[in-house]
Symmetry: C2
Subunit: 142 residues, 2 copies
DNA sequence: CTACTTACTTATCATTTGATAACAAAACTA
DNA sequence: TAGTTTTGTTATCAAATGATAAGTAAGTAG
């Protein structure tokens, strides 16, 4: 297989990943937050504590818009802001108790859908899947 | 590894896929179309000819909004609408010459970024990547 | 032929998102 | 200390997106 064919395969593969991700995550989030807010919360969940700048960089949202959305999340009591004691310009963002509860619920829905998707997979299948994800994450999606 | 751990790995994996996809595709599209319009064109590109209903289903856009965006793409001469001769309610959407040119340019940018990402991969790496994508597409992202 | 369904369109409205300018406060640097 | 950079905020505006109601035209079923 030449490199052009590998690219085509990559296109098809990523399309499938996006498709399935959408299936598993749709309607999992609470209606009280917007899609962008959910993405931010998801990022905070796996990376906390994070600064607004990091959120801005990783989620590709401008600082003013990041600040606005964080303010809204804060007003909804889903996150907490802590000032860095060293550099008082910086803030550390964490999920609040409520935010954690909300994200746990969302993740539980997604996980149950995920588990039912692999319900019929054999032990060998699971190991194959695991290995394949490791390979791709190391060699392609680093 | 238990199934919970596999789920965690899946979360991390899909996050990476989305991250890298974003890197490779950012600014590849023409400024004259919106992100949603690009997604629609991308779908048409790989699946043409398609009906508005199929676009609506697969891209998760309501029929009224799909219709609106297709109208805009049509006004920009990027797509062509053909009525089905059998069932005259149906339409078949295809890229126009201009639409193809635009999508070819976008894909060329993405592909060159993709190729430079795997520039350092050995022949074995390429084969591993290829196999891993096959496995995941068959067993997980079907 | 009538009623119902399907495929798509038009119009309208509210919300979300993205972009920009202007600002403030803290930290760094020469 | 004066000027610069970093980090974040506020305000404002335009564009993109999502949702809904109402309508048309073609096909289908009784």
């Amino acid at each position: 297989m030449d490199k052009k064919a590998l690219f085509d395969k990559w296109v098809s593969f990523t399309t499938s990943v996006h498709q399935v991700t959408h299936e598993l995550t749709q309607n999992a989030k609470s209606d009280s937050i917007t899609p962008v807010q959910y993405n931010i919360l998801e990022y905070i969940t796996v990376s906390q504590p994070v600064t607004p700048s990091e959120i801005s960089d990783c989620q590709h949202i401008s600082m003013p818009n990041t600040s606005r959305e964080l303010k809204k999340l804060s007003e909804k009591d889903l996150i907490e802001k802590l000032s860095d004691t060293e550099d008082r310009r910086k803030q550390y963002i964490r999920l609040s108790k409520e935010g954690e509860t909300m994200m746990n619920e969302a993740f539980a829905i997604v996980e149950s859908r995920f588990q039912s998707r692999i319900r019929n997979a054999s032990k060998e299948d699971i190991e194959d899947i695991e290995r394949a994800m490791d390979i791709l994450q190391t060699k392609l999606f680093y």
